[in-house]
Amino acid sequence: MNRFAGTVNLRELLRPVGQMLVFSLASSVVLSLIVIVLALIMDQTVVGETLLARSKVSLLTYTLVNLPQVILDGLTIGFVYAAIALGYTMVYGVLEFINFAHSEIFAVGAFVGVELLIVLQIYGMLEGGSLIGAYTWLIIAILAGMIGAGLLAISVERVAYRPLRGAPRLVPLISAIGVSFFLQDAIRLIESLTTGQFHRIIPTFGNFDERLTFGQIPIGDSVIALGIQVKSIIVIIAAVLMLVGLNYLVNATKVGRAIRAVAQDRATASLMGIDVNRIISLTFLVGGALGGAAGVLYALKFTRIDPFVGFFPGLKAFTAAVLGGIGNLTGALLGGIILGMLETFSGTYMSAFTMGAAGAEYKDIFAFAILILVLIFRPHGLMGENVAQKA
């Protein structure tokens, strides 16, 4: 067994990176083709004429010019959704239960990380330092968010879910929703008692807000710079690392095997000597930590957080998990990427394609329409297995 461990483990390590690339490429290509075809068609209609008259660009040019940015933004937010979705899907995989409090665990992770950075800023630790210093602090903030959220997730399971283990399925679900409200209010209370304000802004430091530009595209009279924000790169890299780590943990380690065994059959797993409760706690710890990291990354990307910051990303990530097939880790990644891409594509192009009638505020229509379609034709999600097969 040990002789082959090296090769098997390397493959396990790299597999999710390959999947990420494939999913990212595939969704970019498909969505790009769709908008390009739409643009070609609409250029012949009043939609294209209006745009040409108003901004002196054809709809096709507008589409093409925005495309690289849209894809990058879509991937960035998609990876954040994927990281949160992993938490839903891990817990579901093991307990067949949807941890609705996961969105607030994400929020707590964001607050822990951001508050830590704010404190560091107050003490002048973030200023003027080297880039290495800035990255070190960011990594520490992310780790703090992970630890805070992970420990919170364990406690929530211990206090609010474990006592209800044998109860009908609806009961822990209600408990989760209760915990979710409780945590929102707890954040509000703590923030108002300690800082007097509900929303917090992540300090600006390091080079995270800079844009790396790779080139410029001239259109008409203006020039569009192609680039990516440093923080988007950080989000993407962090998400890749988390996915690789999680995949390795689940598929190539002893605890990972135990997690899979518990997910399949709790009683038999305990007959193997596995402490089922410990494995369940571990699952919450890992899922919570991933959510916490996603929280800090989210704050880095969108700068502002408030006690309700978890709601929409949580809902989207839950959707991503269901879309991909809840309980399936690869599915969470796929669902996250699809959702993130759909969101930025529609956010960017809807307004131009509808002559402003439906703006970016309707961007979520597509994501949820796709979800409904997928669930009609594939009730177990894109990569999910039939749950009945498990029993």
Binding site: M1, R257, Q264, A267, A269, L271, M272, G273, D275
Partner: protein
């Protein structure tokens, strides 16, 4: 005495599944526990292994009271249950299933020895290490389940209907393997509906009926008992 069960009462809600049963297994014995559907055989094994807790009574293993020991700790004490219906981890490979069986094994050399041992008992498993457990046939799954249990180097094996759903030839094979496991020093409590087969390899036997031990004795005595012949051996 290896294992002693004293006055065990187990309930499922209001169902009184075990009504104060007593029996024991001596060191190196194969003891058969036979009985019809619903007699309480699986309940007995699950109570010994700690999946269920009795309302009353005790389970003593090697002089230690393990009545309330949870399942995951019972394994470490050396009692391992091969559950009814095999309960293979379907989405884990054969090798991963075996590694799960060795979950409590910290000694690498012992792991290697056990692995070699189960591969000599079940050569098929060695060839199919990377196959998913769920794709195995019923007979192969039974072998995998037994191999998995042996991976923890148990002193006492609890087998729940290993012959269930298998062809006569395979049943014969499985029982030969049970005997050879026993010869290597593992005591065995064998639950069976196939009384003929079970009694042919057992040293002693107990007959369980609706939660009560109705009869006990050497395998020969039980085999020739008229009521047993009537009820479990299809009469002659």
């Amino acid at each position: 005495m290896m294992l002693e069960v004293k006055n065990l009462h187990v309930y499922y809600g209001s169902i009184h599944a075990l009504k104060g049963i007593n029996f024991h297994v001596d060191k190196g014995e194969v003891v058969a526990l036979i009985g019809a559907n619903g007699a309480g055989k699986s309940t007995t094994l699950s109570t010994i292994s700690g999946l269920l807790q009795p309302a009353e009574g005790n389970v003593i293993f090697q002089g230690e009271d393990i009545t309330l020991t949870p399942a995951e700790q019972t394994v470490q004490k050396g009692v391992v249950q091969v559950p009814e219906g095999r309960k293979i981890f379907a989405t884990l490979t054969v090798m991963e299933n075996l590694e799960m069986g060795a979950y409590t094994q910290r000694d690498k050399n012992q792991f290697k020895q056990d692995l070699e041992y189960v591969f000599t008992l079940f050569p098929r498993l060695k060839e199919r290490q990377k196959q998913l457990g769920g794709t195995f046939s019923g007979g192969e799954q039974q072998m995998l389940a037994m191999a998995r249990a042996l991976m923890s180097s148990p002193t006492m094996l609890l087998l729940d209907e290993p012959s269930m759903g298998l062809s006569p030839i395979l049943v014969e094979q499985i029982f030969e393997i049970v005997q050879s496991i026993n010869k290597k020093g593992t005591s065995i409590l064998l639950v069976e509906q196939n009384a003929q087969m079970a009694l042919s390899i057992a040293d002693r036997a107990y007959v369980l009926e609706t939660g009560e031990i109705k009869l006990e004795g050497s395998a020969q005595e039980v085999l020739h008992n008229p009521t047993v012949i009537e009820a479990y051996l299809g009469g002659h």
